[in-house]
Symmetry: C2
Subunit: 323 residues, 2 copies
């Protein structure tokens, strides 16, 4: 009676393979094997010390209860300030919704903008979860191939050919996981001119090593921006992310979030406030170090004997940095 | 261009009204008004002190990273032990999936068992989010009226009439929010005999004041049980919940979770381990106090001048307690 047949309607939802590899690596570690973890985009730095300090202080002040579904107001004020200071984009705290990690907000943003059966265009390659997330939300992923010979830049002319009356949104990620590529200003402008809602995953925005940090909101308000604390603040296991929407979409987004999550962890939100206020210099030092890692890895993999990256094209700025 | 039309496909997804009232109450508090909060099922006790201790210790040991998508193994071992000790149900740690709050797991369980377009039967009244959660998952909620004259017990004969070839699951909650009613053993047995998958929200299982704590898994394995730390452990704002599924369904459940959440907050999981190991006597004392609250509230509302609860029927055990 109980069988996998009951869940076979989910057969098209694949694993997040990095998690599968991580599980297997943990098993091997438990057997005493030494493992070098490369599965995740997980910085090998601890979070800023202000994060744990804020949690300890929160424990002294009050037991953690539910918060506003969009998040503690002070956190949303700090996020709006960050978007202004770091990306030159003006948003209000009422446009911000905080949750336990940006993965859920990727789902929420697709569910928000893409009615079931509609199409969401995404790049190939792209972050491993996108295609699954779109399917979980009941929409259809439409893949746009990125070409190595274009340096994995997005070709907006090719994208135009993928647009149909069923297209409800385009999902982008710049700087991109897994290629590391930052889309050019021309690409961003051309995307904005399509007048199709953009879901912009900006989780790596602050780890752009050549270009100044940028939000797609600089190009268009017709956007749901997704961001979080896992990368630049090295807070992966803390699960704290946020989304920014136009006010016209926030009522529906908040209703989805009330029903799916109620509200994000309170003291983790307090940690978010604290690192936004106090941890910029810590994070910039970490970023400098990560840039050195990148250059080291690049030189290593470029060696003929590594058989990797032999035919990858860099733009001139990237070449200058690595050489 | 940007308008609410883009999200109008979500017009049938209502607010979680308690959150709306909470937001309004917060605004009034900010204006200096004194508010007595009755919106949520939020115990007016702090969590067991072992919870914060575990977080502090976790900060000393390691930076929080991603964990196994089903949760830290030790936490899943403790949850399996709890189900054995408290409910007499044998499960394995491999059947457990931990997430940031049980709300997301309610969605995940519906998405797991109910293909889009299929029907999920739930009671009316029921917890405010259920109907919305089912719609967000793309399934159709089918309401089964509970009657005051039946003491809000579930009538399985009436439920049978709601079953169609499209029925994919039945969602129950015992002890129930908002009625407080515990379904009888006869109701539970009859539900099990339907051989339809049951999603059993057991978040209040440990706050049953008359009957011994019970899991629907005692009656059928054809079940997704949902539980968490918000009520009995008074850890609402911590966001920690879990689900238990048959092994046949766990692969699909884990794939959904990998893509929707990656993994739950690491140090909150450590707190979960700690309270399961150490906080039973603290929680039982709290439960005794909550029972006194219940009796007090009952006597207050039963007064003729309160105009409330005048025609509510109690079973004899409940009457004995309150009188």
């Amino acid at each position: 009676m109980i069988s996998t047949a009951q869940t076979s309607h989910l057969d098209s939802i694949g694993s997040f393979l990095a998690m599968e590899i991580f599980s297997r690596a943990q098993q091997l570690e438990a057997q005493g094997k030494e493992i070098i973890h490369l599965e995740f985009g997980e910085p090998d730095f601890p979070p800023p010390p202000e994060a744990a300090d804020a949690v300890r202080k929160s424990f002294e002040n009050s037991p953690a209860g539910y918060t506003h579904t969009q998040g503690i107001e002070q956190l949303r004020i700090e996020i709006a300030k960050k978007y202004s200071d770091d990306y030159g984009v003006r948003i209000t705290p009422e446009q911000v919704l905080v949750s336990n990690g940006s993965s859920l907000l990727l789902f929420l943003s697709v569910r928000l903008l893409a009615p079931p059966g509609s199409e969401v265009i995404l790049t190939d390659p792209s972050f491993a979860c996108y295609e699954n997330t779109i399917r979980v939300a009941g929409a259809e992923p439409v893949l746009l191939k990125l070409h190595r010979e274009d340096g994995f830049q997005l070709n907006v002319e090719e994208l135009r050919k993928k647009v149909t009356p069923k297209t409800s949104a385009i999902l982008i990620n710049s700087p991109m996981n897994p290629t590391g590529v930052v889309f050019t200003q021309d690409v961003m402008k051309a995307l904005a001119e399509l007048e199709i809602p953009i879901i912009s995953d900006e989780i790596y925005a602050d780890l752009s090593y050549e270009d100044p940090p940028c939000s797609f909101l600089s190009y268009s308000q017709n956007t749901v921006a997704i961001h979080g604390f896992s990368k630049y603040y090295a807070m992966t296991g803390w699960r704290l992310g946020y989304m920014i929407t136009p006010m016209a979409w926030m009522s529906a987004a908040a209703r989805l979030h009330q029903n799916l999550m109620i509200s994000a962890n309170e003291f983790v939100q307090q940690a978010g406030i604290s690192v936004l206020q106090k941890s910029k210099s810590y994070c910039e030092s970490m970023k400098t170090e990560l840039k050195h890692h990148w250059i080291f890895a690049w030189k290593f993999w470029k060696k003929p004997e590594s058989q990797l990256l032999q035919d990858v094209t860099l733009d001139s700025a990237q070449k200058d940095t690595c050489d």
